[in-house]
């Protein structure tokens, strides 16, 4: 089924880990690939490694001959491009897809594109601990979920075109509306990040008076705190475009925490165990399924 997707001219806006990896994975499925980035080093690297055929910092020149445009920039930048500039640069019938981590603001902004452009919101659930185009990997998307969210510019043809692109990447397309996507990632990604960062802030505050906190911290702390090391600009961009869903989840988190804390302080060990046991099973069941999938 991989023969389905073919681009004459693929333009990728944003030459980081996601954009570079997508270029590598699409090498055999596009006649010509242009990379757009304001960072000269990223452009140079992409050209030297033949990740792209052409690199430019000029958005208009980069996309105006393309039949497929992939927006692989931070969410805020994608929204700004969609609202302000890119629509007038594109040829009719171009497919626009983005790789942003939140979707509502982006699919809303896609409505500003001219009729005749087919635009679909996308979120590949993949990545690496360290970003940058030099980390590019042609298997980054393989076997990972790739959420597709319809916009007012998602024609039936654009939808099929996007599904075919996702299939060509070896990823697993999951279609859902942007609101549902943003609620889900608030729970499985943005809430975990905030908890991880707040845990580190709490321990760091204690450790000001006693460095033994850092000395004794080990594997459990390492896992729970790992997301706190995420890129702050990227996470700020993500959180600020998903405030409502994140705040809603935080309210629910506080309720759940208060229930456990009440049992703990009351010394109600049996009820505490009875509450923790199904949580443990839910985590174990998920982990078993997740390992089977990956």
């Amino acid at each position: 089924m991989n023969g389905g997707f073919r681009a004459r001219h693929l333009a990728i806006v944003g030459m980081g880990l996601m954009g570079g990896s997508l270029a590598l994975a699409m090498r055999e499925h596009a006649d010509y690939i242009t990379g757009v980035d304001s960072d000269a080093r990223a452009r140079e690297f992409a050209l030297e490694r033949a990740i792209v055929d052409q690199a430019t910092d000029d958005l208009r020149a980069g996309v105006n001959q393309a039949d497929v445009v992939v927006l692989a920039a931070p969410v805020g930048v994608i929204v700004e491009m969609l609202q302000m500039r890119i629509g007038s640069y594109l040829r009719s019938n171009t497919l626009v897809i983005d790789l942003g981590s939140t979707k509502q603001d982006i699919v809303d902004a896609m409505a500003a594109l001219p009729i005749g452009i087919g635009a679909v919101g996308g979120h590949p659930m993949t990545g690496k601990e360290n970003g940058g185009i030099n980390e590019s990997d042609d298997s980054l998307y393989r076997n990972r979920p790739f959420v597709l969210c319809p916009s007012r510019r998602t024609t039936p043809a654009a939808r099929l075109h996007a599904l075919s692109l996702v299939e060509t990447l070896g990823a697993l397309a999951i279609e859902m509306d942007a609101e549902r996507h943003d609620q889900i990632v608030a729970g499985i990604s943005h809430l975990p990040y905030l908890l991880s960062a707040t845990l580190v802030a709490t321990v760091a505050n204690q450790a000001q008076d006693d460095a033994a906190y850092w000395e004794l911290a080990a594997g459990g702390f390492r896992d729970t705190s790992r997301l706190a090391a995420s890129d702050v600009r990227m996470m700020g961009d993500i959180l600020s475009t998903n405030t409502k869903a994140v705040a809603t989840l935080l309210a629910q988190f506080r309720m759940q925490l208060a229930m456990l804390e009440t049992m703990l302080i009351a010394g109600d060990d049996q009820r505490l165990s009875d509450s923790l046991q199904p949580i443990r099973l839910a985590r174990k069941n998920w982990a078993r399924d997740y390992e089977d999938r990956t």
Copy 2:
């Protein structure tokens, strides 16, 4: 320096991962090892694999000839043994050390031992995802911190004896009082566990209406939720013997979370980034040091 420790008769009460691994690591440093456990399968396994020379379910018979007794049971069981029974079974000059995960209740209970017994609280900062004597590993303690906490029965000789035991295990002795230990582990271990469990409870609650939460959860969720899969009885035992320190840390955690949430909801992206950046650096610095150590 490893030649220092010598036991004539080492008794280990509790034949799980910690007790079994300690027996293996002490094989060449004890003339005779007795394992005490109420579980017949654990005793059988320990004998079959020659982890111990003798196994019994009778606490008195297990410890009354020993010159070194290691209590490798849950905290609640250790406290009960110290308060109610074990003192009258022990020979004078016996060294008693425990491996419990919280220390204040245990060192308090050690004061109930007869004068003439040397007793030191111990907490080796090590373990495995899965417990049980069949997971025993003679290198479990190697290069890991092993906290020692004085009790009213810690004579100068008992302290040196315990330090020598820790050194023989290849572990790194860190001496501190029990209150400080319990505050530290509340931050680096018990708070992370509660956050991890509460995260899973929050997501599981959402996932009741939408299974896509589980489908899309990936590496970030996996790391942050890992501790939620911990043994519930063990964690309940630990939390219930460290309630005050855990509740104090939870209050601080809530304050830190409220500060980040306020910036998020206010849309104060710059202040949010400025707050997250030092957290990121603290985590990165700790992880670098931790990896150097391990």
